[in-house]
């Protein structure tokens, strides 16, 4: 197999492991935090991937971490879907974070876990949806793989806030979030395609 054929195969098959070169063919959305961008492969949240954010308690800053990316996506005309959120997203707060709320949709909280996963898969695979967030009580490896494929299809970001933390996950990126002070978050990048080491950062994060 010559170089050109190998290159073509690598470009066509996103599932082939490419080591640190994974994101060379992938687009990203800037996180809005330059320190974090520098730490992440190819400077931003990866489009076409699932992201697991692990937090012990609600209110640690796990959503504020994504607000700049949400703002960037909605301002480009991509939708951000909140699937069965635990509380009501507060519109004035979203506006304060420069999110264009015309592109924010909330899926009913009364849906079953199966319906939530189905909704997320549908939304992620639609190219008009830039990001979908879900708070699953449990998510199996198979579910995450399906969501990963849907995100790849729609070139979108699937964000999961699992209530039960498993040791391993097939998600493309896993981040643990802990509040250090009012305006600071301690982030541990547990897993990211293209990064071999576990890295941590204390990030100043505004309200």
């Amino acid at each position: 197999m010559n170089n050109a054929t190998l290159k073509k195969l690598l470009q066509q098959q996103p599932l082939l492991w490419q080591g640190l070169n994974y994101y060379s063919q992938h687009k990203t959305v800037p996180t809005g935090f330059s320190e974090l961008d520098r730490l992440l492969p190819y400077y931003g949240w990866p489009l076409g991937a699932t992201l697991e954010i692990l937090t012990t308690q609600c209110g640690a800053g796990e959503l504020r971490l994504l607000m700049p990316a949400m703002a960037a996506l909605t301002q480009q005309g991509s939708y951000v879907a909140w699937i069965a959120p635990p509380y009501t997203p507060y519109a004035p707060s979203l506006l304060q974070h420069d999110i264009d709320i015309r592109y924010v949709i909330v899926i009913d909280t009364q849906t079953t876990a199966h319906d939530q996963r189905w909704s997320m898969e549908k939304l992620l695979s639609s190219e008009k949806c830039g990001m979908a967030l879900m708070w699953p009580s449990s998510c199996t490896t198979k579910d995450i793989r399906r969501l990963q494929l849907a995100a790849e299809k729609g070139n979108s970001i699937g964000v999961l806030y699992p209530r039960i933390h498993h040791a391993y996950s097939p998600a493309a990126m896993r981040i643990s979030v802990q509040a250090v002070s009012t305006n600071q978050l301690y982030l541990t990048i547990l897993k990211a395609r293209g990064v071999l080491k576990k890295t941590s950062i204390t990030l100043p994060i505004p309200l």
């Binding site: 209110g59 005309g77 009501t88 004035p92 899926i107 909704s119 008009k128 802990q178 509040a179």
Partner: protein
């Protein structure tokens, strides 16, 4: 010189025939194309003719059961139409029998007549098992009769309908020719007499009594009938008979009523036995959907709402509305929506009938978006169909959008609205200090001491709503828990300074 051209004749011969006819300048004002369906009863009962076992379709009139149609296999055993059913059983004990359903035949004929409106606005179902189409005006559109015939024949063959087509200046003559399987094209009414004269009288749609009388006087064929003087015929058979012959030969005008233009779509499917399987019910919604899409394409329309009714023998009828955010006539999109909606509807009973009714239509708009637009924007129809699928499965009110209002009271400063494609956003908010991402719909009372919480020194006092019954007087703080989680809390001044959690800065 002949003006009669069989349908199979090639185009060259036909155009020659037409050219010569034009020279005669002896055209009738109208030209009627009749499509006769000899197996309409079989089509309406959806019996597969391919089955090797002999079968018959019988008609039950009071006590007498007469065979209306005999399959090829049955005919080989000597069974033929008009025979008594008991005779058929004598010839073949294992013969399969189906009772003719004239209601179904009529419904099918109406559907076919709707399909035929693509060729002419004047379509009638006056005669049994046939459709009459006035095509004089359509010839210009289709350029020549040959093309029109070819088009109709091809479409009917695609639908697996056995048919016979005839064209003549009078509707009755066209019907008789097609019934007799005489695929002729006659444009000159003066030639009708000669061509009809060759036919047996049984094709003339005469009543049994008149037919018997004519046979008794030795009249077997059309030309023998036309030889009789009108006065003699009027005396023997009445004036109605003469009027019938005049209409047949185009001497007097026959009144034909066109089917009215449909302003709504209705179709149904009746199951042969009560059906419990949702998969089978869904399979039959596909048939209804196919008919609807055909109806919409013919009229260049689209719709946003399908109304299904499931009839159950145990329960009241169940109405299921499947709606789309965008106007649509794509079968695949509707099929997905129907599937999601039907699965989310808890239908537990058996169904004996399913119907589809559509009464709101829109002119179909074609997607003419700029090809150079951003790819994401071009996929708006894909997005709408995704949302439609979500709504179909999770319910119409499952998708909401957020908006803000000009109110200082946190609980009144935002609106949750059901998603529609025509949203109106105010996009206004009052400049205020930081607001939490999560807002608790019902504030959480802090029963214990708040000493565990570290309060910020910036207090935001909100006193508002004095004009209505929802007056509030609160002091808001940002508080930090031991785990550094940020809470939005307030002291309710009206309630002796009781503390509540109202949101989280997640």
């Amino acid at each position: 010189m002949t003006n009669i051209a069989p349908l199979q004749q090639d185009q060259k011969q036909l155009s020659f025939s037409i050219e010569r006819k034009e020279k005669t300048e002896n055209f009738h004002r109208t030209l009627w194309l009749c499509i006769y369906f000899p197996k309409l009863a079989v089509h309406s009962l959806e019996i597969s003719e391919g089955q090797s076992n002999p079968f018959v379709v019988f008609e039950a009139e009071t006590q007498k059961r007469t065979i209306h149609y005999a399959s090829t296999a049955a005919q080989q055993l000597g069974i033929e139409a008009g025979m008594d059913l008991s005779q058929a059983y004598i010839l073949c004990e294992q013969i399969r029998t189906y009772q003719r359903d004239q209601k179904k035949e009529q419904a099918l004929l109406k559907l076919l007549a709707d399909w035929a409106t693509q060729f002419s606005s004047c379509v009638s179902v006056k005669y049994s098992s046939s459709i009459l189409i006035e095509i004089r005006g359509s010839i210009k559109l289709f350029k020549e009769i040959y093309r029109l015939q070819k088009n109709i024949t091809r479409q009917l063959q695609e639908k697996n309908y056995l048919s016979s087509i005839a064209i003549s200046p009078t509707p009755l003559a066209s019907f008789i020719f097609s019934k007799a399987s005489k695929n002729v094209v006659i444009e000159d009414k003066n030639l009708l007499r000669a061509e009809l004269g060759q036919l047996e009288l049984q094709y003339f749609s005469l009543d049994h009594k008149s037919l018997e009388k004519l046979h008794n006087i030795g009249v077997q064929k059309g030309y023998e009938l036309f030889r009789l003087s009108p006065a003699s015929l009027a005396r023997r058979f009445g004036n109605g008979f003469c009027r019938y012959l005049n209409e047949l030969l185009g001497i007097t005008h026959e009144n034909i009523v066109s089917i009215p233009a449909r302003n709504s779509f209705y179709d149904f499917y009746e199951f042969q036995k009560d059906q419990e399987s949702l998969e089978i019910i869904l399979m039959h919604t596909d048939i209804l959907l196919k008919n609807l899409v055909r109806f919409l394409i013919q009229r260049d329309l689209s719709t946003r709402e399908l109304n299904f009714t499931i009839y159950s023998s145990n329960e009241e009828e169940l109405s299921i509305v499947v709606s789309s955010n965008i106007q649509c006539r794509d079968k695949k999109i509707w099929k997905n929506l129907i599937k999601e909606k039907f699965y989310s509807t808890l239908f537990k009973n058996s169904a004996y009938k399913i119907s589809l009714h559509v009464n709101t239509f829109e002119t179909h708009s074609y997607n003419n978006e700029d090809v150079l637009q951003n790819i994401r924007r071009k996929n708006s129809s894909d997005w709408n169909s995704t949302l439609d699928q979500l709504k179909a499965r999770l319910g119409e009110k499952s998708i909401t959008t957020l908006d803000s209002t000009e109110d200082y009271r946190p609980e009144y400063s935002f609106i949750k609205r059901t998603y529609t494609d025509k949203q109106f956003f105010k996009k206004k908010f009052l400049s205020s200090p930081h607001r939490p991402v999560w807002l608790l719909e019902t504030p959480l009372r802090i029963n214990n001491s708040i000493d565990n919480l570290q309060k910020s020194h910036n207090i935001e006092r909100i006193v508002d709503g004095w004009w209505d019954s929802n007056f509030i007087q609160r002091d808001y703080f940002i508080a930090k828990s031991k785990d550094h989680n940020l809470l939005w809390i307030y002291a309710d001044i009206k309630n002796q300074g009781q503390y509540f959690v109202h949101g989280y800065f997640a």
